[in-house]
């Protein structure tokens, strides 16, 4: 029995509706609108804009570090400044770039892709954004406000994972560590709020006909990501509170001078920290699941396996945390278990990669800027995963842990996989969000310049690790043979900066002058492409009913709809 689903062209323009151009508003009205909004799209854009600002700041911090490390015994920055730089770079990138930008995209896309008008809890959504944003501002206020009684320290310099007992008052006087702790506490509250929203929205607000097995894979992945947030952020919040109690209320959880445990902090942190990196990568997988099929002109290969693999990755990621602690002296039993668990996670991850490969296979690949970044992601994620497998071998990690090999590995994932996929997502969804296309020409320049910089820096970064260079050192001896590699690594940073600036320019220019996008510039298949670009506040004039995983494919191919094959 066929149900009538309106054709894309008239899905949001029911007959008889008169539209007119709205009058120009005062700047103050516009600001008020944005500050008080509870619209998931505006909040999503604010998350993304906020994250982009911090991306540039944290990127600049990385550039400063790379200048310092270009030469042995360099004196470009002081040791204290360098230590604050790597702490702030890591903390900012994880909590105030990665989390907001990925949840920003989630906020924007999830309701649209399930045919809903907004998130389940719009005011909670707004609260989550503002509290996360405040956390970031608090962290950066430490540059000014953290001196404390003894004039000691400004920005935190304890590393982004802040191992105890370095964070105890005796080793970190002043308030810089406290700013770090509070900023992350607040960011965590925001993450939990957004995750709550995504889960509730996904489970309760799908449009008619959209069974769980018909949800776009992006929505599935955000569901798994949000569930991980619930489980992972709580131990971090607990640990931050325990640290504050240690520092100010006389408790001794991590205070080894009084019998506390340094390893306890590590367990608490990494039980958060490892799922956290999966919280960061799963949305990148989500984008790949939507973008690669569209530009291959083929449905995603193996949808059920993709769902199972994603859920599997979510579960297994909770059991691998102590691979960050192979050198801490846990004993052969624990080292063996965590080696196995970490290796096992490569199986569902590999399944996803093979499914993407199979999606490309037999397709008709269009090399738009978005797709080029997605293809870069595929190669680079493969390499990142393989270097992760190397690190999962505990004895190999005894050599390479805490060295530049690890730094290379996780930057390969964070930049080579996640950032590349984010760029891909930008080129893909910017038209929907702004109504205009990003310049493909500038996009391709961006891609190649950034690709060269990425590989110069992060391919060669594996080498100093293999040659014995530990991480978090502000300088190194000339006789170690590390200089040439550090020079090459630093040179790549310049290209990446140039590529990023080109991207920002592209966004600004295209917002004003880019070609008009229309509702569906990519000939795609999920529900967000049935709305105008940008979508109106209510998303859909009429809530759609769907009969398959690709409702717009069904409409465009009435002779061969997906619904026939489910």
């Amino acid at each position: 029995m066929a149900t009538h689903t309106p054709a894309p062209a008239d899905i949001n323009q029911p007959a008889g509706l008169v539209t007119y151009a709205a009058p120009r508003r005062l700047l103050l009205d516009v600001l008020h609108d944005w500050v008080t909004t509870v619209d998931h799209k505006k909040l999503g854009l604010m998350y993304i804009g906020y994250a982009l600002i911090f991306l540039v700041i944290a990127g600049f911090q990385a550039l400063l570090m790379r200048v310092q490390l270009s030469l042995p015994n360099n004196t470009f920055v002081s040791p204290q400044t360098f230590n604050s730089l790597f702490t702030m770079h890591g903390t900012t990138m994880v909590f105030f770039v990665g989390m907001p930008i990925l949840f920003g995209f989630g906020n924007y896309l999830v309701p649209l892709m399930i045919g809903a008008r907004d998130m389940a809890f719009p005011r909670l959504n707004a609260f989550s954004f503002w509290i996360s944003a405040f956390g970031g501002l608090l962290l950066y206020f430490s540059y000014f406000g953290a001196s404390g009684l003894y004039g000691a320290g400004s920005a935190p310099d304890v590393g982004w994972f802040a191992y105890a007992p370095l964070t105890a008052r005796v080793f970190s006087p002043g308030h810089s560590t406290d700013y770090w702790t509070l900023a992350i506490l607040l960011s965590g509250i925001g993450s939990i709020g957004t995750a709550l929203n995504i889960v509730a929205t996904t489970l309760c607000m799908r449009c008619p006909g959209m069974k769980l097995s018909r949800m776009p894979l992006l929505v599935w992945l955000y569901l798994v990501t949000s569930s991980l947030v619930f489980v992972a952020v709580s131990p971090l919040t607990a640990a931050q509170i325990m640290l504050l109690l240690d520092r100010y209320a006389g408790s001794h959880f991590f205070d080894t001078q009084a019998g506390g445990s340094a390893v306890l902090w590590m367990h608490f942190f990494w039980i958060f920290g490892h799922p956290e990196v999966y919280i960061l990568i799963l949305p990148a997988f989500a984008f790949a699941n939507e973008i690669i099929p569209v530009f291959s002109r083929k449905a995603i290969f193996g949808y059920p396996a993709m769902v199972a693999a994603s859920v599997g990755i979510g579960f297994i990621s909770l059991s691998v945390w102590a691979h960050h602690m192979f050198t801490v002296g846990l004993g052969p039993g624990a080292n063996t278990f965590f080696t196995l668990a970490t290796m096992v996670i490569s199986v569902p991850t590999g399944i996803k990669l093979f499914n993407w490969l199979a999606t490309l296979w037999g397709g008709k690949i269009h090399f738009t800027a978005s797709m080029m970044f997605a293809i870069g992601f595929l190669f680079q994620f493969l390499i990142a995963g393989l270097s992760g497998i190397m690190l999962s071998v505990a004895p190999f990690d005894w050599q390479l842990g805490n060295s530049y090999f690890v730094v290379a590995h996780f930057h390969y994932v964070l930049v080579g996989a996640i950032l590349f996929m984010l760029f891909s997502a930008f080129y893909y969804w910017f038209p929907k969000m702004s109504g205009r296309m990003l310049s493909e020409r500038l996009g391709k320049w961006h891609f190649w310049i950034f690709l060269i910089g990425f590989h110069l820096t992060f391919d060669f970064m594996h080498v100093p690790g293999l040659l014995g260079m530990p991480r978090r050192i502000y300088t190194y001896e000339a006789d170690r043979g590390w200089m040439i590699w550090n020079l090459i690594i630093s040179s790549g940073a310049v290209f990446q900066a140039a590529g990023t600036l080109l991207f920002v320019y592209n966004m600004v220019w295209s917002y004003f002058k880019g070609p008009i996008a229309g509702p569906d510039p990519w000939d795609a298949w999920t529900l967000e492409w049935s709305t105008p670009s940008p979508p109106p506040a209510y998303n859909f004039a009429v809530i759609p009913t769907v009969e398959s995983r690709r409702p717009l494919w069904d409409l465009k191919h009435p002779d061969d709809p997906d619904s026939r094959y489910e």
Partner: protein
């Protein structure tokens, strides 16, 4: 029966092998030698880790070549060409394949099992290795930002430069390190000898070293421990049995009591200054434990935990203002006048 001359095929292979070896030597010469490379193992733990890592590298390289090769093929072969006959048509929509998906689930599982078993073997052999009776015990305590080494059964306490005997594989004489920290987390990493092991306050960790060739092995702290983490360097001297015994005997002596008048004046300066509250010089009133033991300071090649050559000029400058070499080091500037500083330096250089 040997042939009269190598076959043409044999000659070609030989030429290519020699060529490859020359090329490899040329490539390697372009990059400076590294004294801390994990690819130059000199002890059993480092050797077994390298062997395992060759297996891991081999497996991951093979996976990379296959998967990246397929990816590359796919993006070239299946690109959209406007000139194609059916360019405007959508390609066949393939939703999945149970057999293929099963295959690429089972094969990775088998690889994981193989890799895991190989790894478990090395974990157990390294961490559960039986301790030979002839092993030397050294206690290592990590400090911000220096290493305290003591040999409890030999009555020796020293700092920053670790002397251990070379170990003959046929009659092993490894060194067992019992490690903890006096303050924050540290990590002992000498890549050519073994993987790293962390020094955690309130916890004892152990590891063992068995350098098989005499020489100096470099390393450094590998767990961020504060401001001067970068300059908490390690120098492990693997001595021949004769050299090691001689070193032990010298280290077991109390501090040299030099008759030189300037050294004596320097000793007086030392003993009336706050030096004694942080440092130990055995046989004197200096029994401080916060800073390195200085009894045999002049027998060490470096000061400031390996980061500064041990010359009288450097020693003098360091005592005057440690922050000039190691800003953030916990030793304060001593603010001695020039005469006292000269005398003190003369004294310290006699502490062989």
């Amino acid at each position: 029966m040997p042939s009269a001359s190598p076959s043409p095929l044999h000659q070609a292979v030989l030429r290519r092998t020699i060529l490859a070896r020359h090329l490899w030597a040329l490539v390697r010469s372009a990059f400076p030698h590294s004294s801390t490379s994990i690819f130059a193992p000199a002890g059993t733990p480092a050797h077994s880790i390298l062997s395992l890592s060759m297996l891991v590298l081999g497996i991951t390289a093979a996976i990379f070549l296959i998967v990246a090769g397929l990816l590359l093929y796919a993006v070239v072969r299946y690109r959209h060409r406007a000139s194609d006959a059916n360019a405007a048509q959508e390609p066949a929509q393939i939703y999945g394949s149970n057999q293929i998906e099963l295959a690429w689930t089972v094969i990775p599982i088998l690889i994981v099992v193989l890799l895991f078993l190989a790894t478990a073997r090395i974990i157990l052999s390294t961490q559960n290795a039986p301790r030979p009776a002839a092993a030397l015990d050294v206690t290592v305590v990590g400090h911000q930002f220096w290493w305290e080494f003591s040999y409890p059964k030999l009555g020796i306490v020293t700092a920053n430069e670790l002397h251990i005997p070379v170990s003959d594989p046929k009659h092993p004489t490894p060194t067992y390190l019992t490690m903890t920290s006096a303050d924050t987390d540290h990590s002992f990493w000498v890549p050519r000898l073994a993987g790293k092991m962390d020094l955690i306050p309130n916890q004892i960790n152990t590891m063992w070293l068995d350098p098989q060739a005499p020489g100096l092995y470099l390393g450094q702290c590998a767990q961020y421990c504060g401001v001067q983490h970068a300059k908490m360097l390690l120098r492990v001297y693997a001595d021949t049995p004769a050299d090691f015994s001689a070193w032990v005997v010298r280290q077991q002596q109390p501090a040299v009591n030099s008759p030189d008048p300037q050294a004596a004046a320097g000793r007086a300066v030392f003993q009336r200054s706050v030096c004694i509250s942080c440092h130990t010089v055995s046989g004197t009133v200096a029994t401080g434990r916060f800073g390195p033991d200085l009894t045999h300071l002049a027998s060490r090649e470096t000061i400031a935990s390996g980061s500064v050559p041990n010359t009288p000029a450097n020693l003098r400058a360091f005592v005057d203002n440690p922050a000039a070499f190691k800003p953030g080091a916990l030793m304060p500037a001593m603010h001695l006048n020039q005469r006292d500083l000269d005398a003190l330096t003369a004294y310290l250089t006699t502490l062989k």
